[in-house]
């Protein structure tokens, strides 16, 4: 019985924390926010050199061939830093799509690039199969309008959940430079990420194998990835609020000495610590316990996104007026929590999945 991070994973977490504290300060995050592409290219090159971008990519394509729990450790730290950029969508979800469903040719073409940071992928997944709005004609030609895609602006390819003419889920890879792909940037509430609306107008794509089972797998991986990011973000919101409560004085005392604030902070801890175990388990199950993976992912997504939003809400409140300013950084996490809660299905949606998969 051993339910915890290994020494290597703890080391990875520590080194990620240190690197991002140095290279992804909130000043850097704000620089990315103000940039056209919404990323930090130098940081992306650096983490590629460290092997992060190819973490789950097989060794023959230059990756580290590690597991989803290792990925969750990195994503948690990126959530802690509110790291901007396409990492989660490219190196966790799109990479998984190619590893599982890509032809030999697609694997050759993209996995090396994802691993060394020269290629970026993203995904256009609806939260459930019933909401898929892209149609795939024979030969993989896609049509559909206004599909939300994170970081389509930077991506070389998009893994699209489409529906074939006979109603089956058809996972399809489309290059963003293909004719018939139009990308329009949206004004995203979460300033640490970029979101685009993509139109596919008879755009040529390549089919991935796996159909609905690949689709489900990507939803599960995406859900766990978002949950891991939420775990880190929640920890950061807690740390910021607690630190502030120790220095800000009112009524002649630090506000952290008042029970109202103590209880708010303690409630975040009470939500956070058990939730950490949900993330570990869900990430581990993706690799090691296939029969439990979907339900564990739904539990992690439902719980983490709910408590992340609640934690950032409280953390803003604990800051008082300064927390409502643009200048203060806490709103970066407040808004990132909103993205996480909505992307790939709300907590209510995932609770319903927990009920269905649990047979009640």
């Amino acid at each position: 019985m051993d339910f915890g991070l290994s020494d290597e994973q703890l080391q990875l977490k520590q080194s990620a924390r240190e690197l991002l504290a140095a290279e992804c300060s909130t000043a850097a995050v704000r620089k990315a926010m103000a940039s056209e592409d919404g990323t930090l290219p130098e940081l992306y090159r650096e983490i590629a050199k460290l092997g992060w971008t190819g973490l789950i990519v097989p060794e023959k394509f230059g990756g580290a061939a590690l597991g989803m729990l290792d990925m969750a450790v990195l994503l948690e730290e990126q959530g802690y830093a509110a790291m901007p950029g396409p990492f989660l969508f490219s190196s966790a979800v799109a990479a998984e799509a190619i590893i599982r469903g890509g032809s030999d040719e697609a694997r050759e073409k993209w996995l090396g690039g994802i691993a060394d940071g020269s290629a970026i992928g993203t995904v256009a997944l609806a939260e459930d199969a019933g909401s898929i709005a892209v149609v795939a004609k024979k030969g993989g030609r896609l049509s559909g309008r206004g599909i939300f895609v994170p970081y389509a602006n930077l991506a070389d390819f998009i893994v699209v959940a489409a529906r074939s003419e006979d109603g089956q889920v058809a996972m399809t890879l489309v290059e963003t430079k293909a004719a018939g792909v139009t990308i329009r940037m949206l004004k995203n509430l979460d300033l640490t990420r970029r979101l685009a609306a993509v139109d596919f107008d008879d755009a040529a794509g390549a089919s991935l194998s796996g159909g609905e089972s690949l689709y489900r797998r990507l939803l599960d991986v995406g859900a766990v990835a978002i949950a891991a990011d939420s775990l880190g973000g929640m920890q950061r919101a807690l740390d910021m609020a607690v630190d502030y409560s120790k220095v800000r004085e009112q009524f002649g005392k630090p506000i952290g000495s008042f029970q109202a604030l103590k209880h708010a902070a303690a409630e975040i801890v009470a939500d956070l610590e058990p939730a950490r175990s949900l993330v570990w388990y869900a990430a581990y199950a993706l690799d090691a316990i296939p029969s439990e993976a979907s339900r564990a992912a739904a539990m992690a997504k439902a719980r983490l996104c709910e408590v992340y939003s609640r934690a950032t809400d409280r953390a803003v409140l604990m800051h008082g007026g300064i927390g409502f300013t643009w200048e203060h950084d806490i709103h970066l996490w407040f808004k990132r929590a909103r993205f996480n809660e909505s992307y790939l299905g709300s907590p209510a949606y995932h609770r319903e999945r927990v009920a269905q998969l649990g047979g009640y």
């Binding site: 051993d2 339910f3 005392k253 103590k262 209880h263 581990y284 719980r303 319903e352």
Partner: protein
Amino acid sequence: MDLNFTREEEEFRLKVRAFLEENIPKSGLGDGREGNQDKAWLERAKAWQRKLYEAGYVALAWPKEFGGQAMDPVRQSIVNDELVRAKAPYLIGSSGLGMLGPTLISWGTEEQKKRYLPKILTAEEIWCQGYSEPGSGSDLASLRTRAETVGDEFVVNGQKVWTSGAQYSDMMFCLVRTDPEAPKHRGISYILINMHTPGITVRPLVQMTGDRGFNEVFFDNVRVPRKNLVGKLNEGWIVANATLFHERNMLGSASGSEQRFNRLLALAKSVNRGGRPLTKDPVFRQRLADLEIKVQAMRLHAMRQLTDQIRGRNPGIEAMINKLVGTELNHDLATAAMEAMGDCSMLARDDERALDKGYWPYEWMFSLGLVIGGGTSHIQKNIIAERGLKMPKSR
């Protein structure tokens, strides 16, 4: 990461399970929280603990010289887990096993260990905890029960309250004020009092459930030998605080929540609402799933802490939330069950039309008692904030 127990551990689990199936008392013990606590009941309850001890399933991690087996924490966790799964009766000596025993092992003199530990294991002596007083609940360190040194004895005067099991206990581990002049945390001593000493009066209090579970205990010039002091004079607060961290039955309590959830789910499936089972009601499904996620999180959280224990790591902030989250979750489960029962939740547990054998009305009330006892949720939050997050003390 490896969620499996070793083959030896699994074999051990099966052995425990088989023993419990064979030996659990079939009737009349309740779960230790209820029932008429007469002499015959007490003897049966003691006999059950003795049987479990003789089979080798009590205090497995204690040192061998005091009757334990010096085993790793996994075995004890497996036993705790199986006891809950088998719905075994609560152990009558659990205050001694869970609180006093580990305290004596760390702080007691050799004589104290030899004198008291073996009888804790066999339930020959039952212990109760003398902490709370009428004026000292959450602010425990303000306690006023006085112990004056006279020759080689303490003379104790004062009153304790909410003392569970005092009506049948032989001994009490007790916090008393030995230096009224010192700052409140520094004038307290931890002493062991024989409950059969002249001058002790136990008066039962009736709980909101209607049961007699806890008591008032009055001390009128009660003489206690000086050798019954644990730790140093006036350093009882340190000894008592160490005891607080001895309760590590996480896997067992997570299994208990899991059982309650399963019982709630079965209830909800059996209740018809608007022409369909309550489990098909979209709002109640959300609530069930939410509760199941929280139960699963606490189970995994317990496994994480067991892992830390095996790895020899000291518990950190993650262990400070156990009491807060675990007890509130159990009360939430019971509250959901009460709502599921609709009109029938107006009925007391012994009405013939009460659903699910009248389990929930009692559980609903008792679980709220556990949110309070041992430090209310509000106090737990103070502990998390002050000891865990190092937020400044206001007092």
